[in-house]
Amino acid sequence: MNKLTDKDIKKVYWRNLFGLQWGWNYERMQGLGYSWVIMPALKRLYKDDKEQMKTALKTQLGFFNTSQPMSHLIIGADMGIEEKTGMSDPEAIVGLKTGLMGPFAGVGDTIFLAIYRAIVFSIASYMALSGSALGLLLPIIAGAAILWVRYKFTWIGYQQGTKLATEFAGRMKILTEGASILGLTVVGALIPSVINYSLDLKYQMGKVTLNIDDMLNQILPSLVPLAIVMFSYWLLGKKKMNSTRLIFVLIALGMVLGNLKRIFGM
């Protein structure tokens, strides 16, 4: 059977960067994209064997969904295995893909979608708020670093092959835990940093003015933002509540809070 060339691997990397989600759909999610991404490898391996090619195409069009940066590891491993065994055991390929995509989605989304974005874009945004467009370079530069990581992932996946599935599994658990710790620390820090709402209520009692915000701050700074977040968190746990509906609830809440003075005729 043919061997994959370095150029094939690189081609797959480039396709993976761009097209894994072009054909995203509710039925197979990244299934269509996956087949396109790995196609250079399939061509090399099965161009001359129509039956194998058919099996490969059908196999690779199946349901797939994971975090994009992590997908490189899986696709890499997939290539590594097919290079050795071809399409003799499609079940094994499907097993590899579906076995890894779940845990990889968890840790990948935590790191790359949640934490990474929160950090990089909050810094860039604060820079923008202070008037400098230069902050926009930050996501570009940091993003380029991630492209490099994704390149490495492709090769690691390819070289480790099945080992990845067995060895990474154990590591994954602990990595997910680590990512969760990092993520929750950042999430806790986001509350006082991005919710700048304060009640802005002052109360005249005889000669003394009671500043409600000051009093709440003396108990705990950012108490009101924390309360709103906790309320939102609790709502999201309710049946029939989802994030879009939560927006309406918060807009309604904002309508009330933003007009407190009108409401109380102050």
């Binding site: 097209g19 894994l20 197979r28 087949s35 620390t185 820090a189 700074p221 807009i251």
Partner: protein
């Protein structure tokens, strides 16, 4: 003032590139921050664009499409909010107030695009039966069309009728409503954060949530998200170190002076 055709075309190209960025490299153009900045730049008021974009970005930090979930289209919201703010000449907070409901409204177009692509998936299945891999490949490329249309259409329409929309808003929407929207904007980041809290195992690791909150609540202006992330990284690493190595290995630190230590020339990295 109306938006010239030239500007509409440039912004349409931009949102097309942005949605592709969103589903691939995620370098930046897909973010509300870029949306505001680019729109501001194109329409000659970068500053307002930066304000709208940055505020919207902070408002939606925790909002992400985990597992293919659909979220409001805050990028388009940011583009159009900025454009309307500049058209109406009413400052950034006007634009921010509009961006949120626009983003909400456009949730549906994202869903339509994701549904439309099922069509190409089925065509690919058919070609796969025939072993026609070239045609299979093509279907994924067609998949970009629904994505691009789902962003270009609303922007084109919204900008074309921009002046009328703005006039309508100005004459029909009462002041208390805009005040309300403004406050809503201030508390909306709670949503993104709450989503993240649901997504992460907060019940198991709540102490770290507390630590992050306390650092920032008391650290105030002196502290930052990156700072808290570094502390979080340190705690995560300590956790991993502890869990991985229940028995303490023999450390070989000690008498070797740095001069002899030429065997490793890497930068700081996790040592395992």
């Amino acid at each position: 003032m109306t938006v010239s055709f030239g500007i509409i075309i440039v912004l349409c190209v931009y949102v097309a590139l942005a949605v592709l960025d969103q589903i691939s490299l995620q370098l930046g153009p897909y973010s509300p921050l870029f949306g505001g900045a680019i729109t501001g730049l194109v329409m000659g008021d970068l500053k307002t664009g930066l304000m709208v974009g940055a505020t919207l970005q902070l408002m939606t930090l925790g909002v992400a499409t985990f597992g293919g979930a659909t979220v409001p289209d805050f990028l388009t919201g940011s583009v159009m909010g900025t454009a309307y703010a500049i058209l109406a000449n009413k400052g950034a907070s006007y634009g921010i107030g509009l961006a949120v409901p626009i983003g909400l409204l456009l949730t549906q177009t994202d869903i339509l695009a994701r549904m439309a692509n099922t069509f190409f998936q089925h065509r690919a299945d058919r070609f796969a039966e025939e072993g026609n891999y070239r045609k299979v490949e093509l279907q994924n490329i067609w998949g970009t069309i629904p994505w691009i249309l789902s962003r270009i259409l609303p922007v084109a329409i919204g900008l074309f009728f921009g002046q009328s929309v703005v006039s309508a808003i100005n004459s029909f929407i009462p002041a208390w409503f805009m005040d309300g929207l403004k406050t809503a904007g201030l508390i909306l980041p709670a949503m993104g954060i709450a989503i993240l809290m649901r997504y992460l195992p907060i019940k198991k690791y709540f102490p770290f949530f507390i630590i992050g909150f306390v650092m920032m609540a008391y650290g105030g202006k002196n502290f930052s998200i990156l700072g808290s992330a570094l502390v979080g990284l340190a705690m995560a690493a300590i956790y991993v170190i502890f869990k991985n190595k229940p028995t303490s290995p023999v450390t070989t630190s000690g008498t070797d002076s740095s001069e002899n230590d030429d065997s490793d020339d890497d930068e700081v990295e996790i040592d395992e």
